[in-house]
């Protein structure tokens, strides 16, 4: 009989089963896929921020040896584009076209595509395309884009305002708070204006696609790194005007996705269309310059907040206006991330009166869309900077100010005026644990003595919530989010009692294959080696409404658990027949089906029962042969992960350089499936968050509209030498609203990173009154703040 140790897998640091092939060079990425007869696509991208396209002369390119076809917007007649999934009421729709129709609206926008024998030849042909551009005035700044007389990005929409959405701050009773009253009553009103920088996932593996149209079978196979293959399949079929049954999406290994791969892209249409035209496989691998120009960007917002406080530190009200720089087109999720910013900005605090206007603004920049954190980190930057500013204004310790305003552990479920229902958490406990770990009182004392020696040490606290596990589909409907929030799972037990699990989730670095295998093994109470996970093939795997994200395993895991419950119940029914016992007297435990109280004598292995299920000689009435089940789980609520980070830094006031002293993380993501992977995800997300806090930024030139950060010498991704040692602690508050108690955790690490860093730097320079209100906090920016403050 197996021991309990080998059958309990939740909470175990199982090594990632993905790793061996990846580490030993047997990963298979898009670049490795090249069916016989493959030809290669290269894409001509607009060199201008805003230019009318009066014509494209393709003759010379078409005449070049080795060129198979040239696509321009004129070839897209009858071809659709991808809809925005999140269509908030009043949001003016401007879908991203596959090729710029008549006008290019950002540097890097696809203008034409060439397919040739090799990528080299295709790029030679790009040089021969003669585009008649008429350069237009551009605008790359949100405030300038809203000003009178600004160049209009999408004339059809009238102006550059895509939407103005208001969060009225509805409380649990269904009425809006009294925001004006709160500000009248306040002892102090604190204001902040924050620029959250534009950055993105910048995965190690750039995007890539191989489309393979079989004209005889009328099937299109698309090899893609999409995080949400089901949705891509549905939308691609619609755009191309072919039946969805003709389309199969295969997902190989992915070298990083970070939300960017959640979106549908022009290139998905272009390679497919070219393959259908040519009747042969067409491959496109994004190069790094394209990746920086044309894979969606994220974050960029200009936020203005006002906070009303009483002198004892009670936050009475919070009022904000968030301008979201959406870039030239609405991409797959519309202004979704900015909406989440508005929904999450009250964070862990009991703020009775809340009002926030979110404005989506079009600019001549790359579309701003899905990126790890999805508006949450932006919200945390605003509120956590505001808490520190308020603390300083009131002369209250920033930890104490937070503590005084936090939602208490016994106040869940908590109806936030941002609109979310927080399921559970223990915010004060997480803060206390973080302060203890960082030795807060001691660091504060040291800070004083170090300052006398000319060492400027700062301590920055940032608490966060991460609303994850999107979401009950009905709620998505209310939010005008046109997809479901469910995950499906099929589990099949083979005749030898081993399990194969089919999921719509895609392992993209977060370890989904391992965690889902753990959940399945744990609930079947079998060795994890006996669980295989199948993913990445829309012909085999269940439809996923929402697709893979760093914080979706919690939903997918429940689908697995529910499918396994059905399997176990059926195994018990079949087993009871074989054991000649009443099903009520038979139970499933330790991977065996046994008569209760007689486990040693009257017991069958899962394999015994599975074999019988396939022979089907004695299937109970009402049951079907074989042993498999499918469950599609639609979550009952969102889950809210939370925690507190504390950053300790030294600032060199001569150079603006920031040196790490310490970084403490306390996170609470409910039940932990795999501590090792959780740690890895926190490291990754935190690096991603600190990258945007200090280094990573897409900079546009106001004068020319050019993207200046278009190589990895200009766009700086952090490496381990740029990051602190992460000291990680956990709290576990299981979600009461999901089976298993899991919450999403793959993104949370990036939520408080930037405000923790900014608060620490501002704290280090508090003697100068320096406020750090823009990310990334580059040495140049920081030095000029110090310089202006007379330091």
């Amino acid at each position: 009989m197996t021991t309990t140790q080998e059958t309990r897998w939740i909470g175990v640091s199982a090594p990632r089963r993905e790793d061996a092939p990846l580490i030993r060079g047997r990963g298979r990425y898009i670049a490795d896929i090249e069916p016989a007869g493959t030809v290669h696509m290269a894409i001509l991208r607009s060199p201008y921020a805003h230019a009318r396209i009066n014509g494209i002369d393709t003759a010379a390119a078409e005449a070049l040896d080795g060129v198979h076809c040239v696509l321009t917007a004129a070839d897209l007649e009858g071809i659709g584009d991808f809809p925005t999934i999140w269509r908030l009421p009043g949001q003016k729709e401007s879908n991203t076209p596959a090729l710029a129709p008549g006008k290019a609206r950002y540097v890097g926008e696809p203008v034409a595509a060439v397919v040739a024998d090799s990528r080299y030849m295709a790029e030679d042909a790009l040089d021969l395309l003669d585009v008649d551009y008429e350069i237009l005035d551009h605008v790359v700044d949100v405030e300038a884009a809203l000003a009178d007389g600004a160049p209009v990005i999408n004339e059809d929409l009238g102006d550059n305002t895509i939407i103005e959405y208001t969060f009225p701050g509805i409380n649990a009773l269904g009425v809006a708070g009294d925001i004006e009253g709160a500000f009248e009553e306040a002892d102090e009103i604190v204001s902040g204006r924050f620029k959250v920088g534009r950055y993105s996932g910048v995965a190690l593996e750039t995007r890539g696609l191989v489309a393979d149209w079989d004209d005889l079978r009328q099937t299109l196979t698309l090899h893609s790194g999409s995080q949400v293959a089901s949705l891509l399949r549905t939308e691609l079929a619609a755009a191309l005007g072919i039946p969805e049954t003709s389309v199969r999406i295969l997902t190989p290994n992915i070298g990083g996705a970070f939300g960017n791969q959640w979106d549908r892209y022009p290139e998905d249409i272009l390679v497919s269309l070219a393959s259908m035209k040519l009747g042969r496989p067409v491959k496109w691998i994004e190069d790094r310059r394209e990746a920086l120009q044309a894979t969606v960007h994220g974050r960029e917002q200009l936020q203005e907040w006002q906070l009303a406080a009483s002198s004892d530190g009670t936050v009475l009200g919070l009022k904000g206006r968030v301008l979201s720089d959406q870039g030239a087109h609405l991409h797959s999720v519309g202004i979704g991330p900015a909406w989440v910013t508005g929904a999450a900005a009250v964070n862990q605090y009991k703020i009775a009166n809340y009002h926030c206007d979110v404005v989506g603004v079009a600019t001549n920049k790359t579309p701003n869309s899905t990126f790890r954190g999805f508006g949450g980190p932006e919200a945390m930057f605003g509120i956590e900077r505001m808490m520190d500013k308020t603390a300083r204004r009131l002369g209250i310790d920033p930890a104490e100010l937070r503590r005084r305003n936090m939602i208490q552990a016994d106040e869940f479920p908590y109806f936030s005026p941002g609109g979310a229902v927080y399921d559970s958490g223990n915010y004060p406990a997480a803060l206390a644990k973080a302060l203890e770990a960082v030795e807060y009182d001691k660091v504060r004392e040291e800070q004083q003595s170090l300052r006398d020696q000319g060492v400027y040490r700062g301590i920055g606290i940032a608490s966060y919530i991460h609303v994850s596990g999107f979401g009950p589909s009905a709620i998505l409907g209310i939010l005008d989010y046109y997809t479901g929030g469910y995950e499906g799972s099929t589990v099949k037990i083979d005749p030898h009692g081993r399990a194969t699990l089919y999921t719509g989730m895609i392992p993209m670095g977060q370890g989904t294959e391992t965690t889902l295998a753990q959940v399945a093994a744990d609930h079947l109470e079998i060795d994890i080696a006996n669980v295989r996970v199948v993913w990445g093939d829309t012909d085999q795997t269940p439809y996923t409404g929402f697709g893979s994200a760093g914080s979706r395993s919690n939903v997918a895991a429940v689908a697995v658990i529910k499918a396994i419950e059905q399997i176990k119940a059926k195994a018990v029914r079949i087993g009871a027949g074989l054991l000649e016992a009443d099903p009520d007297d038979v139970a499933y435990a330790d991977g065996r089906i046994s008569v209760k109280g007689a486990e040693e004598m009257r017991s069958l292995t899962l394999a015994d029962v599975a074999q019988q299920a396939y022979w089907a000689h004695k299937i109970p009435e009402g049951d079907q042969p074989t042993l498999e089940a499918t469950y599609v789980y639609d979550p009952a609520n969102f889950t809210t992960a939370c925690g507190t980070h504390v950053a300790v830094v030294d600032v060199d006031i001569d150079t603006g350089k920031i040196d790490w002293v310490k970084y403490v993380v306390v996170d609470d993501a409910g039940t932990i499936i795999n501590p090792l992977l959780v740690e890895g995800q926190i490291h990754g997300a935190l690096s991603n968050g600190l990258g945007g806090a200090m280094l990573e930024e897409f900079v546009y030139d106001e004068e020319t509209g050019q993207l200046l950060s278009s190589t990895l010498m200009d766009y700086l991704v952090p490496s381990f030498t740029d990051l602190p040692d992460f000291e990680i602690h956990h709290l576990v508050t299981p979600s009461p609203h999901t089976e298993g108690g899991f919450k999403g955790m793959g993104e949370a690490g990036c939520f408080p990173a930037a405000p923790a860093l900014a608060n620490a730097v501002a704290d280090a320079l508090s003697h100068l009154g320096v406020e750090v209100d823009q990310t990334p906090v580059t040495p140049s920016r920081l030095w000029s703040l110090i310089d202006q403050a007379g330091g």
Binding site: Y120, L695, L708, L716, P718, D722, S784
Partner: protein, 290 residues
């Protein structure tokens, strides 16, 4: 990001390389470590009709220390940084080399490539200026010796080398017995091209500075810092002279703005780094610019 088509030759001797250069002239490019040229080819910023790959010319790869330090142009940056002869003669060189990119880049990149490419933020042109180095440039017509100043001449991403010339050797005169050096640069991440940097070599007779040579990089071009040098000459080593040199350096430095920082910031940085480099030099008492 694929290069345009080009022809390719791989000569095995200097003479063969020079003949190819004479034949193809301005249509040709020398390929050394390829760490700068290959990206430029991929971006199609360079479109040579002919690539002359001198990686097979073994006679361009050597370090000989005998009074004047002579270094073959194809000497890899790793070899340069690890050479005991180089460290013994001019310890500032390995210090600077450690800041050039990352190990993999230094394993391929060459000293000649670094000088010929003349990135304004590269360490070696400025360091070699401060060390009063010369280079030899050879063509089928003969050889000339060019001082670093004359090689760089306020240029960026190009030098005064002719189309048919191959940079073959770098010559660095022996350091004065009592000289010391300091090297400081500031980059946003280790291994990145610097926002600003200074190589300082000073000689004192006990406490008075008798020689000062400062090379700066990270501006629009590599340059000596004459005002800073003048502020040091004849002064007593110490905070006052160093501060004056820092201010002079800021005045001399051809600062420029980009995504990483403003010109104002860079001018300030060069001041700070100059002071730090001089303090470092003053603290290094080894002599022989140690």
């Amino acid at each position: 990001m694929k290069p345009a088509a080009f022809d390719y030759s791989a000569p095995e001797s200097i003479a063969e390389a020079l003949d190819l250069l004479a034949e193809h002239g301005s249509g040709a490019k020398v390929l050394a470590g390829g760490q700068s040229l290959v990206p430029m080819l991929n971006f199609r910023l360079a479109r040579p009709a002919h690539l002359i790959d001198v990686n097979g010319v073994d006679s361009l790869s050597y370090i000989s220390a005998n009074g004047t330090l002579r270094i073959g142009s194809m000497t890899r940056l790793t070899a340069l940084g690890e050479s005991g002869d180089v460290a013994g003669a001019h310890p500032i060189i390995p210090k600077a080399v450690a800041h050039i990119g990352h190990r993999a880049i230094r394993n391929r990149g060459t000293i000649g490539g670094s000088l010929a490419h003349n990135d304004p933020a590269a360490e070696l042109p400025a360091v070699l200026m401060a060390l009063d180095a010369e280079v030899t440039a050879r063509s089928a017509d003969g050889e000339r010796v060019v001082g670093m100043q004359d090689l760089i001449e306020d240029r960026l991403f190009e030098t005064t080398l002719g189309d048919t010339e191959l940079l073959t050797e770098i010559r660095i005169p022996a350091a004065a017995a009592s000289s010391t050096s300091g090297f400081q640069e500031f980059a946003r991440r280790h291994g990145d091209f610097a926002l600003a940097g200074v190589a300082a070599v000073i000689t004192t007779d006990g406490s008075t500075i008798t020689q000062a040579a400062l090379g700066a990089f990270g501006g629009t071009h590599a340059t000596r810092l004459p005002t800073a040098e003048a502020a040091l000459l004849g002064a007593e080593t110490g905070d006052a002279a160093f501060a004056a040199a820092g201010a002079g350096a800021a005045a001399d430095f051809p600062a420029t703005s980009d995504v990483h920082g403003t010109a104002e910031y860079r001018s300030h940085l060069i001041n700070v780094l100059t002071v730090r480099a001089l303090k470092e030099a003053a603290g290094n008492s080894g002599g022989g610019n140690g």
